[in-house]
Subunit: 668 residues, 3 copies
């Protein structure tokens, strides 16, 4: 398949139809209340619903007694008007008979509290008893629904790890021991060496003695913590993989996805078992315009284009909060923003707002009283547009020339010893935000992905470093790329031990500097003087650099290290490596990243765009789609446009366009 | 009995003597230290003490071996100088032998921590073993003291639920299952329907599978939570009822009370088993002048006039804090303020400050060194005044024309899903505060109480609504009353499920509006333009109203809903219903409640009063008492007085009066 | 021994060599990495290392199988270049086989959470199983190393109680019961009387029924809490004493120390088992110049001169924070500041920064990459200076004329019922800070120590008072001393019960006043008018004083108690007692303590010193050393010097001296 040759973040989903619809919960409604749902959905352009992820009790009301008739009926009824179903394994909400009969399945937190029935996600995905139940219900559903022509695919579970990822139950304790045994080839000495258990006399005489990391009474060992976080991700992947294998065996053509992104999952590994990844988007949590681009790009870094199984439709509220109500046009704009950033399908959460339960104020397309109001009108407009233009979008993927690297282990290593400093992902977000504001073709790229097509790589304080990655980064620079790395880069090996090399360790040759001193900075004393006489605010940290081959880009202005090197540039082959001896922040991103942009030759998607207008580009071998989104409250005039046609309006565009507030154009 | 025909909040206690005194702890003192207590009390006007609520270990030092001789002696000694005793069941502080022998009685919190001996209230009132011990000690005390002519009544336990109301012990788990079985007539399907367990697959196959609501790992179901809070109140009532039944059987003429108000008790139900309710008043916690009116009025809403078993005498301090020391005159002013709001008896906490234990800085009338200082002088003045005038006060109750409605279930329903919004009781306090500042005859009235005599009812976001209450409110309006309701009114049924009707649901006809959109507001965008051109600040929330029959009182000024209806008035019969599409706050109470006052015809108790002077009126069939209290630091001239006599000074009053700082007049 | 006649805080350590070096962890490094450690240490002037406190697993990898060969080798290798070793009992970090085989040794916190292997200090020093293991490893080490001429002494354990002092395990429960039984001579009535268990019916029928104080669900009894804190200190002392006895039996000439100061240890008792106390100094936690003087003086109060087993070398960082990097010169200045305040030895923590474990960013003399940089240069300068001048310092101790009293029980009594008010030690720090800023010979003195040589005693709200201490304080005043006491003094007996005397109780005669009223103050209303017309800010509290024999020093200016006495002075014999009816604060310390200084005749160490220059004086029978330390960033000229010689430079000094930034002079 041709996609295999693309970088992972550039792969389309392979969907033949642009999916549009909503998660649907027929089990929450009476026959009367559901009566005209199918018709109203079809009228709104819906071609797909997601069902059954919270309905285990309906399908297996008593252990071993399955009854799929209710969902059979729903699938048929919707199928009758052309709406396909994505079913879910229902393992996020196990029925009460399960936790009652097998109480050992209940998760336990770090404080020893056992979770309980009464909300969701209370069962441990490492519990053998729960694994067996997961196997049984998945097998029964797969076997049963394999015969339905309307079921096109599956979502595994639901938002794995969203409430609870660090379980301390007995099953997890045992599973972690076995994970360690496998990782260290049954050699306990190797584990002791890797974790540095010589510190505080923590050495283990046997894998059977290993404990989960408790931070109790004092802080745990960083090597221990990192391996535990790897174990949590690996075992979550394994839980899903068991379900995926059952589903694939039952019907090979089913599409399989999952809805992230949640803590303690390495999605680059996790997504290997899926056809494509799903990403749930609730931008009203932060109300930032940058929310969807960043989340969608993070998801794409794992597996390319995505499905959005849940995109916010109205305000969402729970015990402590309620979001602001999205104003008119906002919901549709969110949808197109997701598409611009790689979505090949959009389901708005949820069809109708529930009248009971913990999400009764998680507002759907329809209100509690089942009356269609402006959210339904907007949904309908969007659905009918996408029905028309969706296939023109499929097959393209998002252009990336400026990449911020990401890696699960880097984030976990940081979390094990943060020192109050920004994490790799916090800096990644800062860098992504600035490059996005500059209207550049920016993306998040996994360190293990191909760097083909990239001109700029930002390496946000990757402390873990190995020869292979150092080699690939060096190759990228030699070949003409620009690399910018920030404080603490390359200080550790892959076991999360600090290296015996002077930082940036394996990248010292590439950077052309070593770090000779470092320390915390307070806000008053944080200026770096750049070569052009301007200054950049340092963020929380200073590093005093000694150049082996690098040249000066910035110097420290204060403290006993005043005049020492703070930012340097090293030319190597056709490219250059910039070392920044502090952290990225919203305050310094422009000054510091501009140093790299001055070198990297990354072109904006469209020059001269107004601040409120976002641009993104999706391309394929034979097609270029230019997305323009007006996030502001005023009409915006956009010039210097390529000639083309607006997919949505069908109008011809030549040179200029006026975009209404909250409106979008897709120029093909 | 004639009182039965009065609204519940208007019923006098039925006491024949105005009670004055203090809680007294002879068990904390040596014979020498107690020597002249009785004489000094008598000199101060004391006619009543409360004793023994924390002395179980003294009366039953070994299980089953009772020794009441110490308290016999105290009761006799005090009785000898005319001081009567209210005894207490001592179940708030079980002796150590009890928790040692029956450790299953210890409460368990939501985090699984078992309470321990060493403070108080550590035993679970649902524990069968503890219930048995409660039965035994209550029976033994009742039988023994039935023969004492000086014991006039009882307080059950002490401040039930003050430290701990949500217990998760095994006994509570079992009791909750039985409570559910009874409530749903042994029909588990009815429970599943009521709670909406279709959400998140929470359905129960059996009452034996029901769990307490844990919020673990995610939020619990709101229907589940509301029923649990009802269970907690019901089972607390049941615990008390067992004691009350024993006491009534032992001696029918005993008066029985309890000292509230504490969490998770529906006092309207709880007080049915009592002769009258007690309310403990510690105004120095908030230092607000409004503290006593609000607390006393809340207590009166349950059962009419009250006893104050504990009224703060000096500063109170515990581990993290100490109150400010009340200045001269403050203690007496608090007492009269409580009387003005329905107290038929005042006990100042406590006679002498304890020299040990967790309340050693909870300062009483006498200091640690047993020397009488200004607190004793003030107590003495107050006691001797009340000895003189007390009987003239008894038999009257507090005038209420403007009522804020209250209901236990409304508050609990809100707490189950607050969305960061004000609760009914928070809005009730705000409304009560404003109406009180306006010197109106304001009160709190239970929704189940009679509305006779009321001209204005404020319904503070009662989300739970049923036909019966909707009918009674409609009747109130038709008959000429003014009703003001606020955001979210009528959105739920009695199971705490959201209704399928457009809000305000069952009250939509009465209000003459429906709510078509809603959302959170931030501070900058919160203006409602009123019909007279002035504006009111919205509070945290907007609702867009569509009028069926209501007329405009206010419009939204900002946002995409600008010019939509925000406040409306609907005329029905002789009255009118005002719907306010936001929450009440200190900032908007005046503007919004004035809309209702303009219609309701509620007269101030006395027009033209200075701001620092509070007015209240107690009346009976043949008597009117006008209370005037100067809370300020300057003398205040009060005019337009009715002719009469000041009960305290005995002076004749005609038209005008100068009230000293912290002084009070009661004009009969 | 002559020292016995000195006040405890004036006793030198008795060391013959000034110790200089570092804690050393050879077990963290490979042979190659350690290769030139001994030589580099020797070159830097090191004569002592501390080893093995975290290496139990290395010495006893399997239960009962000892292997000391590794440390034998290290001790020999270092000894070969003249570096002596202080070994440690390794009980702060028990090996995994121990907690695996004897899980009952694990500590349990107040919330019931059991500690776990994976950090340190997780085993309970009251556990019989752990005590036995402590006995075995200590015995084995003592026996083995008794034959090494290079091992000069021991540190017991490591920072006992630093992470965890209040254990609620079963062993602690039992041990506390036995402690109570012994304290109250098996008389449970005496315990009930002492704790005041008559309050809240808490009385115990048997010592077997006693519980640890849980604060659950409400606050615990203050008498119970104070006795528990005494128990925690006593049992920690007992744990150490068992180790000390083994070591003393093995080799009488060994020096034995421990590194404090940590919570819940009464070091005045604890240090009786030691030759001298150690105090770990990490001034970068607070970055206050006063940090070392206060900590070192607190340590000296227990046992005189100290060793500093750990003095910060670089920034220290852990999960939530990292210190600022000490600037050039700072590390050496800290060392001399410690010496000025009584250190007879300095070890800088640590030799080389670890590459793994929870302290991987606790930076040592050498960096992770093992390269010597400025910290090594500074260490080396300091080491070589001290090699030269160290013996001239030994035998002297720190001059104290103005003392702030300290007592473990006072602090614990306060913590049991703080009322939101400053603790004795908070006020002690405030008073010490001010007197130190005034360049006076200030110190902390234990209440049980001799008052010989003192002119001023500050008694910071000692609430617990007995006849003996009252008598000694009175004697101090009669003999010409000046005593200043603050709010709440003398309000309690030694059981932490409030006295029946009017405060200040047993000191009322000495103070010449009684406290007639008291209360919390808010910030706006806090002025005391002093006799000279100036004013002092009261701090959080007012007391209204009635003078029996005292004279006026200050009056209250506000409130209903305006014009009442606030500060008084009572002359008695040749001295005077000042009573301050509020708490000391940074804002009022100058005004209030100056009242005492005006009377006390305490001379500054050197008059006219610049603000940035600190002075301290160490003396012996035949020697006076004047320490001058420039904490500022500018050179400072110091005048009025006594004639002498600067020990460090060897230069003669007469009258004047210019001190460089961060530099020190020691004038002999
Ligand atoms: Zn688990
Ligand atoms: Zn319970
Ligand atoms: Zn313990």
């Amino acid at each position: 398949m041709e996609n295999e040759s693309l970088p992972r973040h550039r792969r389309p989903t392979g969907l033949r139809t642009f999916l549009f619809g909503a998660p649907y919960y027929p089990e929450h409604w009476s026959d009367a209340e559901r009566a005209d749902d199918a018709a109203r959905m079809a009228a709104a352009g819906v071609n797909c619903v997601r069902m059954a992820e919270f309905a285990w009790d309906r399908m297996e009301p008593v252990e071993g007694e399955y009854d799929f008739s209710f969902f059979d009926e729903q699938v048929e009824c919707l199928g009758g008007v052309g709406i396909r179903t994505i079913l879910c394994t229902p393992t996020a909400t196990p029925p009460r008979w399960l936790s009652f009969r097998y109480p050992e399945v209940l998760r336990v937190d770090a404080g020893g509290r056992r979770m309980e029935h009464g909300s969701r996600q209370h069962c441990c995905t490492n519990s053998p008893a729960f694994r067996e139940q997961s196997w049984k219900i998945t097998s029964a559903m797969a076997e049963h629904f394999a015969y339905s022509r309307h079921v096109i695919g599956w979502q595994t579970d639901n938002e794995l790890n969203c409430h609870f990822s660090l379980c301390y139950c007995e099953a997890c304790q045992r599973a972690f021991r076995e994970w360690c045994r496998r990782r260290y080839d049954d050699d306990i000495g190797a584990l002791n060496e890797a974790w540095g258990t010589a510190f505080w006399a923590q050495s283990y005489g046997s894998f059977d003695h290993i404990v989960l990391p408790y931070d109790r009474p004092a802080r745990a060992n960083p090597g221990h913590v990192l391996d535990h976080r790897r174990f949590v991700s690996d075992s979550t992947c394994e839980f899903q993989r068991e379900q995926v294998e059952i589903l694939r065996r039952a019907k090979a053509e089913w599409l399989i996805t999952h809805n992230g992104l949640m803590p303690h999952i390495d999605y680059a590994v996790f997504a290997r078992d899926l056809d494509f990844l799903g990403v749930d988007l609730y931008p009203a949590f932060t109300e930032e315009v940058h929310s969807i681009p960043y989340a969608a790009d993070r998801a794409r870094s794992a597996a390319g284009n995505v499905l959005v199984p849940e995109l916010q439709a109205g305000p969402g509220g729970q015990v402590g909060y309620i979001h602001r109500t999205p104003p008119p046009g906002q919901m549709r704009l969110w949808a197109y923003q997701a598409v611009a950033h790689g979505a090949d399908g959009i389901l708005h959460f949820r069809w109708r707002t529930c009248r009971f339960g913990a999400e009764e104020y998680w507002c759907g397309v329809l209100d509690h009283d089942n009356k269609p109001r402006r959210r339904y009108q907007e949904f309908s407009r969007e659905g009918n547009e996408l029905r028309r233009i969706g296939t023109e979008i499929l097959g393209t993927s998002v252009d990336v020339a400026a990449a911020v690297l990401a890696e699960y282990d880097q984030e976990q290593a940081h979390a094990a010893m943060p020192l109050g400093m920004p994490s790799p992902s916090e800096q990644a977000r800062t860098a992504h935000h600035y490059l996005w504001r500059r209207k550049l073709p920016v993306g998040i790229v996994e360190a293990s992905d191909s760097f083909d097509g990239l001109k700029l790589i930002v390496l946000p304080s990757f402390t873990l470093m190995d020869e292979a990655l150092a080699w690939r980064l060096t190759g990228f620079v030699r070949a003409g790329g620009t690399l910018l790395m920030t404080a603490w880069t390359g200080t550790r090996d892959r076991f999360n031990r600090i290296t015996d090399l002077t930082p940036p360790g394996l990248l010292a040759g590439l950077a052309g500097v070593t770090v000779e001193e470092y320390g915390r900075l307070d806000e008053a004393e944080n200026a770096i003087e750049l070569a052009d006489g301007t200054s950049a605010q340092a963020h929380k940290w200073y590093e005093v650099l000694a150049a082996s081959s690098a040249e000066l880009l910035g110097r420290w202005r204060h403290g006993h290290y005043a005049w020492a090197l703070a930012v340097t540039l090293n030319r190597l082959g056709a490219g250059r490596a910039i070392y920044v001896g502090t952290y990225l922040s919203e305050a310094n991103a422009a000054a510091l990243l501009d140093l790299a942009l001055a070198e990297a030759g990354v072109e904006p998607i469209l020059p001269g765009l107004p601040a409120d207008v976002e641009a993104a580009r999706r391309t394929s071998a034979d097609k270029t789609l230019l997305f323009l989104l007006n996030h502001g409250d005023d009409p915006q005039t956009i010039s210097r446009l390529p000639a083309g046609r607006d997919l949505i309006t069908g109008k011809k565009i030549s040179g200029q366009l006026v975009l209404d507030p909250k409106d979008v154009a897709i120029i093909a």
